[in-house]
C-alpha cells in the first residue's frame, strides 16, 4: 500500500490518542455548533465534522472542532489533518481551505485524493449548517 509515513503517523496518532486529536462529538442542537456529514457507508467513507464557533467582530471564529470518520487510513488521516488546520480560523478562512492543502500535507497518493475532497466538503457543510443557525 502506497501510504506515506505522514498518513501512517497521523492515522496511528489519532487512533491511539483520540481525545488529543479531537475525536468526539458536540451536541448538534447547540446554536454555536455546526455539523457536516459527507460520504456514504456503501462507498467506504463517511466523515462527520463539527465546529464550535463564537462571534468575533463582524465574523465568527472556530474555537473547537470534533470529528468522527469511517473510512480508510487516508480518510481518517485527512480528517485529522483538516481539524488541525481549522482551530482559530475565521469562517471565511476555513471556507478558503482547499483539498490540495491536505493532499500536500499528507503526501496523499492520487488514488486517495477523494479523501481530501471529502474533508473539504465536510467543512463547507459544517459552516453552512452553522450559518443557517445564526
Amino acid at each position: 500500500m502506497a501510504y506515506s509515513k505522514k498518513v501512517v503517523d497521523k492515522f496511528e496518532n489519532t487512533l491511539n490518542n483520540p481525545e488529543a486529536f479531537k475525536v468526539g462529538r458536540f451536541d448538534p442542537k447547540d446554536s454555536n455548533v455546526g455539523t457536516g456529514m459527507v460520504g456514504a457507508p456503501a462507498c467506504g467513507d463517511v466523515m462527520k465534522l463539527q465546529i464550535k464557533c463564537e462571534p468575533k467582530g463582524n465574523t465568527h471564529v472556530i474555537k473547537d472542532v470534533k470529528f468522527k470518520t469511517y473510512g480508510c487510513g487516508s480518510a481518517i488521516a485527512s480528517s485529522s489533518e483538516l481539524v488541525e488546520m481549522l482551530i482559530g480560523k475565521t469562517l471565511e478562512e476555513a471556507k478558503a481551505i482547499k483539498n490540495i492543502e491536505i493532499v500536500e500535507a499528507l503526501e496523499l497518493p492520487p488514488i486517495k485524493i477523494h479523501c481530501s475532497v471529502l474533508a473539504e466538503d465536510s467543512i463547507k457543510q459544517a459552516i453552512e449548517d452553522y450559518e443557517t443557525k445564526q
Binding site: 487512533l15 457507508p41 462507498c43 480508510c72 477523494h114
Partner: protein
C-alpha cells in the same frame, strides 16, 4: 510464525517455502548440483535433471491420485487457468462456443473468460448462494448443447468455502462439456482423487502449499482425452502443451512441497483446525461481527470476517503488526469492495469491512493469541472513531439515512 514482530496470517495469499523444500531446491542450481537442462538427451546433466523433474511430477500426481503423464508444468495457477480455459475453448470452438463459470472465481479464471468473450464466445457467470457455494443445480440449468467448458473453483480463496466438484463433474460429463477446476487453494488442505472425480482439468499452484512461487501445474485428463491449443510455442516441451525450458529447481520444489503435503496433510489440518476454532470463538465475542462463507462447508485455514461499522482498509492499517488481507490481494490497491462478497449479496459496507485471516503450517499459539488481543482492541478504537458506530448506538437505522454519497 512471525518475522520482525509482524505476525503472518495471510497463508491463503502465499506461504513461505518449507525449509525442507528450499534445501531440496538448492541441489538443482549450482555447478556442484544438478543444474542440467531436463531436455538435454545426450549427457548425464540432462538425464539427472529429467529424472528429478519426473520424480517431482509423480509427487504432484500422487497428491491428487492421477497419472503423472497427466501433469503439465506451468508458471503457476494463473497460467494453468489460462491454458485450460483458452486452450480448451479455442481447440473445441467448432463444437460449441458457450462457457460457464461463476462470479466468485479468481481473476485468473474471470479474465481469460472475458478475453474469450472478446473472441466471440458466450460466457455465463453464475451467482453463488449467500454462503459462496455454486450449486450443481445452477450448473445443470445453465448448461446447454453449445457448452464446451465449465470452470468452477474448488475452494474459494476469500471465503474458504468448498464447491461440490465431484457432483458438478457428473453433470458436465453427462452433458459432454469439459470441466476445469481451479484448485490453487486445495492442495494439502483437502483430499482430491482425480481417479474417482469426473474432472477434466485442474490447476495447481506451488506457493500456496509451501513450495516456491513461479511454478504450478495443470492436470489434463488422458481418458477420456482432453486436448488443448497451447498458449506458448517454442520447442514442444510438455507434449506440446507448454513450451519452454523446464525450471528444474522450481519443479523439484513443487514436487517436494506436494510430497510433504501428502504426508502431513492430517497433521497440518489438526493444528489449523484447532486455531480456527479458537479464533472463531474469540472473534464472535466482538459485537456485530459477521462470518462470511459457510462455516459448515469450508476449510479451516481461511476465515473471513466482517466487522460492521469499521472500514476494512483502516482495520488492516490498525493491525499493522499482523499480515492479513482484505479481499483478494490483487484488488487491495483499489477502492472497490470485494467482488466476491458482493456476489454473495453482502451489503457494500460489510463487503468493505471484511478481513481474511488465513492460518498455516508455521502458525503458532502466540500468533493466534496476540492477534486476537490486538484485533479486539483495534476494532474498539476504530469504532470509537466511527460516525456509523455512534449512529448505531444512538439507535439510528443506517439503512434509512440519506447519505451525501461521493
Amino acid at each position: 510464525m512471525s518475522t520482525q514482530s509482524t505476525i503472518y496470517l495471510d497463508y491463503a495469499s502465499t506461504t513461505p517455502v518449507d525449509p525442507r523444500v528450499a534445501t531440496k531446491m538448492m541441489e538443482f542450481l549450482t555447478p556442484e548440483g544438478e543444474f542440467g537442462n531436463p531436455a538435454s538427451r545426450s549427457h548425464r546433466f540432462g538425464w539427472k535433471a529429467d529424472e528429478a523433474v519426473e520424480e517431482a511430477r509423480s509427487h504432484v500426481a500422487n497428491l491428487v491420485n492421477c497419472d503423472p503423464r497427466e501433469i503439465v508444468w506451468t508458471s503457476g495457477a494463473t497460467e494453468a487457468d489460462n491454458l485450460a480455459i483458452k486452450g480448451v475453448a479455442r481447440f473445441y470452438k467448432s463444437k460449441g462456443n458457450h462457457i460457464i463459470t461463476s462470479k466468485i472465481e479468481h481473476k485468473a479464471v474471470l479474465d481469460p473468460c472475458r478475453q474469450l468473450e472478446r473472441e466471440g464466445f458466450e460466457v455465463t457467470y453464475l451467482d453463488p448462494d449467500e454462503k459462496g457455494v455454486v450449486s450443481p443445480s445452477a450448473i445443470k440449468s445453465a448448461i446447454k448443447d453449445s457448452t464446451v467448458l465449465v470452470s468452477i473453483m474448488h475452494i474459494n480463496n476469500e471465503l474458504g468455502t468448498l464447491n461440490d466438484i465431484a457432483k458438478i463433474g457428473e453433470i458436465t460429463r453427462e452433458h459432454g462439456a469439459f470441466f476445469h477446476v481451479d484448485a490453487a487453494q486445495s492442495t494439502g488442505k483437502v483430499k482430491i482423487d482425480l481417479e474417482k472425480m469426473p474432472i477434466d482439468l485442474m490447476s495447481f499452484s506451488a506457493h500456496k502449499t509451501y513450495g516456491p512461487k513461479g511454478i504450478g501445474a495443470l492436470y489434463v485428463r488422458r481418458k477420456p482425452r482432453v486436448r488443448l491449443e497451447a498458449l506458448i510455442h517454442g520447442g514442444g516441451h510438455e507434449r506440446g502443451m507448454r513450451s519452454g525450458t523446464l525450471a528444474t529447481h522450481q519443479i523439484v520444489g513443487m514436487g517436494e512441497a506436494f510430497r510433504i503435503a501428502n504426508k502431513e496433510m492430517k497433521k497440518d489440518h489438526e493444528k489449523i483446525y484447532k486455531y480456527h476454532e479458537k479464533f472463531l470463538e474469540k472473534v464472535k465475542e466482538i459485537d456485530h461481527v459477521y462470518i462470511n462463507g459457510d462455516l459448515k462447508n469450508k476449510v479451516p485455514n481461511i476465515l473471513n470476517v466482517s466487522f460492521n461499522f469499521v472500514e476494512g482498509e483502516s482495520l488492516i492499517m490498525g493491525l499493522k503488526d499482523i499480515a492479513v488481507s482484505s479481499g483478494s490481494a490483487c484488488t487491495s490497491a483499489s477502492l472497490e469492495p470485494s467482488y466476491v462478497l458482493r456476489a454473495l449479496g453482502r451489503k457494500d459496507e460489510l463487503a468493505h469491512s471484511s478481513i481474511r485471516f488465513s492460518f498455516g503450517r508455521f502458525t503458532n499459539d502466540d500468533d493466534v493469541e496476540d492477534t486476537l488481543d490486538i484485533l479486539g482492541n483495534v476494532v474498539h478504537r476504530l469504532r470509537e472513531l466511527s460516525p456509523l458506530w455512534e449512529m448505531h448506538l444512538d439507535g439510528i437505522d443506517l439503512d434509512t439515512v440519506k447519505w451525501n454519497a461521493h
